[in-house]
């Protein structure tokens, strides 16, 4: 039975080419799965039991999930209007603005944490926000979200902009002639058509936020039962010599990420499976 009706007649050379491409896929998958398998072989039942029964680890897991989800929601809230504005409205300095959006992606993670720490503890505006407005971020759970937002929101904004770039303006133009305002054409036409790209950006943002470690250690620290997330728990456990527990937590983190990414792709439909 033909599994791919669109596949053309292939020569041996074509098959060799496909095999070479698959070789790289296989090597990468083997590399990643081999590492995970190594971790699985290293841990023992006692470490798994410790992870599953520890209240601190459950708290860290909960913190990881709610902060990363909150960060993703806030990032999308910014990404959709920003992506549309950068895609559709020409304004002076758009090129510069577009470049600045990408800047946090190339920040070394530690730099992001240091920058936030310096801003909120050493500058007048930062101190005013913390002390006068009462919005405390340094060494606080709110700081986790801020840190994740700084380092991960660019993925959502970039993806949203690309998604809106890919929506043909003629659709919006037709919507305008059919009775839509600019806002109406955005909500009824552009946004639904850019949906997959925006969700893809959300997935990248969540993945980045969920696994974030370096900036968190500097900006919010890792206080048990307060600002501890799974990534920082792994660091704490291995720093006190509990390597099996650290790896068991790492496997838990990988498992959750795998389940979440697969679920989002399945729910998002065929277009997201292609991502």
């Amino acid at each position: 039975m033909n599994t791919d009706p669109n596949r053309p007649v292939a020569s041996i050379r074509d098959r060799l080419f496909a095999a070479a491409a698959f070789l790289f896929v296989s090597l990468f998958l083997l590399f990643v799965l081999g590492l995970i398998l190594g971790d699985i072989c290293y841990i023992n039942r006692k470490a798994v039991a410790a992870v599953l029964t520890s209240g601190f680890i459950r708290h860290a897991l909960w913190m990881s999930i709610w902060t990363s989800v909150t960060t993703t929601m806030i990032a999308l809230l910014f990404a959709v209007p920003m992506g549309y504005a950068l895609s559709r409205f020409p304004f002076p300095g758009r090129f510069i603005a577009d470049t600045i959006v990408d800047l946090p992606i190339v920040f070394p993670p530690l730099v992001a944490g240091l920058t936030l720490l310096v801003f909120f503890s050493q500058t007048a505006i930062g101190r005013w926000i913390q002390e006068d407005l009462g919005l405390e971020f340094v060494f606080q759970p709110k700081g986790i979200v801020l840190c994740q937002f700084l380092t991960a929101a660019s993925f959502a904004i970039r993806s949203a902009k690309t998604a809106f770039d890919d929506v043909d303006r003629r659709y919006e133009n037709v919507a305008l002639t059919l009775g839509c305002t600019r806002c109406g054409s955005f909500l009824r036409v552009s946004l639904p058509l850019a949906r997959n790209g925006i969700i893809a950006g959300g997935i990248l943002t969540w993945a980045r936020a969920f696994g974030l470690f370096g900036p968190l250690m500097i900006f919010v620290g890792s206080f048990r039962g307060r600002t501890e997330v799974l990534s920082t728990t792994i660091f704490l456990e291995q720093s006190v010599g509990n390597l099996e527990v650290a790896l068991a937590i790492a496997l838990l983190l990988i498992f959750i990420a795998l389940v979440a990414l697969t679920a989002i792709r399945l729910v998002g439909g065929s277009a997201l499976v292609k991502l």
Binding site: Y171, N173, A175, T177, G179, T181, R195
Partner: protein, 350 residues
């Protein structure tokens, strides 16, 4: 019904240059021109998708130059139709009605009328992705017409269709226009398409109207060499006028070693076109009533084009002539022919 006054729009190095036109109510107007002439931009200016730099646009006597597209009351079908791919056919057609919060009963009645008119009832539950080009075209037309606009703007509506479908859709467009008494502005680069539907036409080139008038006039009386070549006029010549008598109604134009009489008085260099279908062909030595503009020519070749025969004649003047199959049958075996150019077959280009 729809007119522009000195409409100017610049984009990069291109500009629509002071375009003035008046399209009467109920007319089918075709805007012709080569690719890059500015036809689509002009159409977008009419429906408000581009803000004009200067000049004015009037629809039904009202100045709509600064009016939003949604308030202009025009139906617009862009090139490739731009059907919303995330909606079904029915949702596409009712898009504008739902925006206007149309009552369900009225909505259903309008859909039924429009889908019946265009023969697309069976497509309503379908997704856009699976539609053929012709089906997409009719759905796009229904989406624009269901809002009952008085003016319909069509940007290359049949260019994505094959030849047979193109003719069928053109006939349908004309029927719909007449049935709904619409004023249509139809952009095209295809001459046959224009002839099959247009009452009026204009030719746009490099952002300027080259000629505006009834489609037949564009064909018979092109006002410039560009228009003549665009409407595929063959037999375009350029020569120098000899001095004429004051009362003469014709001018002799020198073309190398021969000369042709053209109607009217002219001086200097003159360009003129000879309509191939009005050239009179006789067997060699055939006697014409007027010996002027008679040429003995070699029959270099001929081609059966279905409705007419296209002959290539060489000699002191190289001509292309069209004749009917019946008129060609006695000439078929002649190697030389006499070509007579009546004055009415010659049109001087300004």
């Amino acid at each position: 019904m729809i007119c522009t006054e000195e409409l100017t729009f610049r984009v990069g190095t291109f500009q629509l240059d002071h375009l003035t036109i008046d399209i009467p109510t109920g007319k089918y107007f075709v805007l012709l021109g080569p690719p890059g002439a500015g036809k689509s931009i002009f159409l977008e200016c009419l429906c408000g998708l581009r803000r004009v730099d200067s000049g004015r646009v009037f629809i039904s006597g009202q100045d709509v130059t600064c009016t939003e597209p949604r308030l202009r009351g025009v139906g617009y079908v862009p090139q490739d139709y731009a059907l919303f791919p995330h909606l079904s056919v029915a949702q596409n057609i009712t898009f504008g009605l739902r925006l206007r919060r149309c009552e369900h009963q009225q909505l259903m009645s309008r859909i039924q009328d429009m889908t019946q008119l265009l023969g697309i009832q069976h497509l309503l539950p379908r997704r856009i992705a699976g539609l053929s080009g012709g089906e997409q075209q009719r759905v796009a037309l229904a989406r624009a017409l269901v809002l009952q606009p008085r003016i319909l703007l069509l940007d290359e509506p049949v260019c994505a269709l094959d030849e047979a479908m193109r003719q069928e859709v053109c006939v349908q467009l004309l029927r719909v226009q007449q049935q709904l008494q619409l004023t249509v502005v139809h952009v095209s680069h295809n001459l046959e398409e224009a002839f099959s539907v247009a009452d009026l036409a204009a030719i746009l080139h490099e952002g300027r109207f080259q000629q505006i008038g009834p489609i037949d006039e564009l064909l018979r009386r092109p006002n410039s060499e560009f228009v003549a070549r665009f409407v595929r006029t063959e037999n375009i010549f350029s020569g120098h006028a000899r001095a004429t008598m004051a009362e003469s109604t014709r001018t002799r134009i020198e073309l190398g070693h021969t000369a042709v009489d053209v109607p009217g008085q002219h001086t200097g260099n003159v360009k003129f076109a000879i309509r191939p279908d009005q050239i009179l062909l006789l067997p060699e030595g055939g006697q014409a009533s007027d010996s002027r503009n008679c040429f003995e020519l070699q029959l270099a070749g001929w081609r059966d084009c279905g409705a007419y025969i296209r002959l290539e004649l060489t000699g002191p003047i190289n001509l292309v002539a069209h004749t009917t199959p019946a008129a060609f049958s006695p000439l078929r075996h002649c190697s030389r022919l006499t070509a007579v150019l009546p004055l009415e077959s010659i049109h001087v280009l300004s």
